[in-house]
């Protein structure tokens, strides 16, 4: 038993999944080695086992009703969106017949708009791609222009004399304007369960074969973290977190042991087996989810 035992509030928060990842790792690591805290967790788990079934009906009745309303509303919205074109037009005509000034104003607007379109949509003076053969003043420097700019300025792209032979026949490359800010984006490190072992693995070099384990665990962890809230009950979640803590603890210890004595084959085997256990543990969550889904 350790002297610095956990607060019951912290244990409840751990059970309810309210702690962040670093706290979860800390708490689970402590529970794995402290009998008193493990028994407190077990007692809290027993209480949850009584409370959750009592409230299960409430949970189950609330969610379907809300979903039903959402689906009904979605259906109505889609029905409206999928209304045939002639129905929409007829609705507009009815409005127009009721309010003739509105119809007159709309028709004037349409006529003006169509005329403007016809004026604007004349054939452009230049071709967007293809050889550029226009003569330019000596000394002009070529500046790349976007197609929009070419339309707007309505002028020919300047090409210097010394590139008027071979490069002039090459297709003109349209360059995209650089509108993006130069602020470097931080890479999203998706590691929902950054165990001590994984953290250590990132800072150190891998042993032969270890990297594949770490990568597999990382990808499985992402998948499991996304679904474990739905697929596991309170008591199962606690068991899962406790087992993960045990396995993580074993991995951390064995890794440091192997680092200290690289010839310790027993520690290596235990390390690899612990990795495999972690993979199996994570896989069991997905397998259970698949089983339940297949029964629906």
């Amino acid at each position: 038993m350790k002297q610095d035992c956990l607060d019951i509030g912290l244990i409840q928060a751990f059970m309810d999944g309210e702690l962040d990842h670093s706290q979860v790792d800390k708490v689970s690591g402590h529970i794995a080695t402290c009998d008193r805290c493990a028994s407190m967790l077990s007692a809290a788990e027993d209480e949850s086992a009584i409370v959750f079934p009592a409230l299960e009906r409430e949970f189950n009745t609330l969610v379907p009703t809300q979903r039903l309303w959402i689906k009904i509303n979605d259906s109505i919205a889609e029905e409206r969106a999928n209304r045939p074109l002639w129905q929409k037009a007829w609705a507009l005509i009815r409005i127009g017949m009721i309010t003739p000034p509105l119809a007159a104003a709309a028709s004037v607007l349409v006529i003006v708009g169509v005329s403007a379109l016809m004026l604007v949509d004349r054939p452009a003076a230049i071709v967007e791609s293809g050889p550029v053969t226009a003569s330019v003043k000596t000394g002009d420097t070529p500046t790349p222009m976007s197609v929009a700019e070419m339309h707007r300025s309505d002028k020919v792209v300047p090409v210097p004399d010394h590139v008027s032979t071979a490069p002039a026949t090459a297709p003109y490359r349209i360059e995209r304007a650089d509108y993006r800010p130069t602020v470097s984006r931080s890479v999203y490190a998706a590691s929902p369960r950054l165990s001590p072992a994984t953290a250590a693995d990132r800072s150190n070099s891998y042993m032969p074969g270890e990297e594949s384990y770490v990568k597999t665990i990382a990808s499985l962890s992402r998948a499991v973290d996304a679904q474990k809230d739905n697929s596991m009950r309170g008591s199962e979640r606690v068991s899962f977190e406790r087992d993960m803590a045990v396995v993580d603890d074993a991995i951390t210890k064995m890794r440091s042991e192997v680092k200290r004595d690289p010839k310790n084959e027993s520690a290596k085997q235990v390390l690899y087996s612990s990795y495999q256990n972690k993979i199996d543990l994570l896989s069991s969550v997905s397998q259970k989810e698949e089983l339940v889904a297949s029964l629906r």
Binding site: D74, V110, L295
Partner: protein
Amino acid sequence: MFLKNRKLMALTAIPVIILSSATANFAQTPPKPAPMPPTSELMRFPKAPPAADPDGDHERFIKTDPAINLSLCVMEGEVRVNGWNRNEVRMLVIGGGNFNFKVQQKSQRSSDPVWIMAVGEAADTEKIRPVNECLRGDEIEIDAPVGASLNLKGQDVSITVDGIRRVSIKNAGGDISVRNVSDGINATTYRGDLTVEQSSGAMVLENTSGNIVVFDAGPSEIGDIFKAKTASGAISVQKISHRQLEVNSISGSVTYNGDILNGGSYAFWTSNGSIKLTVPASSAGTLTASYAGSFSSDLPYKLATETVSPGLVKSIVAVLGAGGNAALKLTTNNGSISIKKL
């Protein structure tokens, strides 16, 4: 004059408005709404209250081949499967929905079914709900030929199987108890205990949260393996005559009580718990033990190598008893190992 004639103006405006409406429709195509969920999904909610269920007792028989393969899925309840010496399958659902047998394959020789599925049927009052092929009921009793193979998927089911040939079970939650199965067991439960008695054949028993207890089991063919694995729970194995055993628990103790057969391979592992072996005094083999706590053996052993450095893992390689071809590999990361005489 044109403006004064309102009717003429309105008639002129009609095609223009239609044109503008169509143009606007093409120009501003609204984002396509999410596709409607299938009708079955819509109908899934709200769930009919239990009081409206036409629960009752339903019983059916079907004549089958002696080596029938029976498949079914069960949502909830208690399932009892019993082997009998008749070439027919009887199924009784107590306090649940109606069901039927669907013949999947027939024997070319006898034209009797060799593979059937038991599927749930919606009652007349249940038409609003999707027809889930899984059975449901308070209790489900199945009598099947002793040569039958059972393939069962369950969601929250307590399962007992006795006296058939082969069993394959996957259960999301609930205990599984199997006995007198002659040719192999593959059982998984994600929450619940798993018990196997007096059975033979290859065995793969997996459990996420719960204990595994196996008593009196053996191979039906040479080379049949025995695997038992749990995450949170203890594993107790007694009187096993398989020659290849893999027993693995993450946070629980492992107990073995039985013979160490010559040429056998025995691997016992736990991350957080003790390993206790009780074996005959005459047991012999090569012992490899890795442990974090203590190691003790009532049986004589001769050390080949021993690592008791200040590290976390202590390990020994030793010749147990008079030596032999059996290989014992015992590993615990946080616990002790003890070998006692039977």
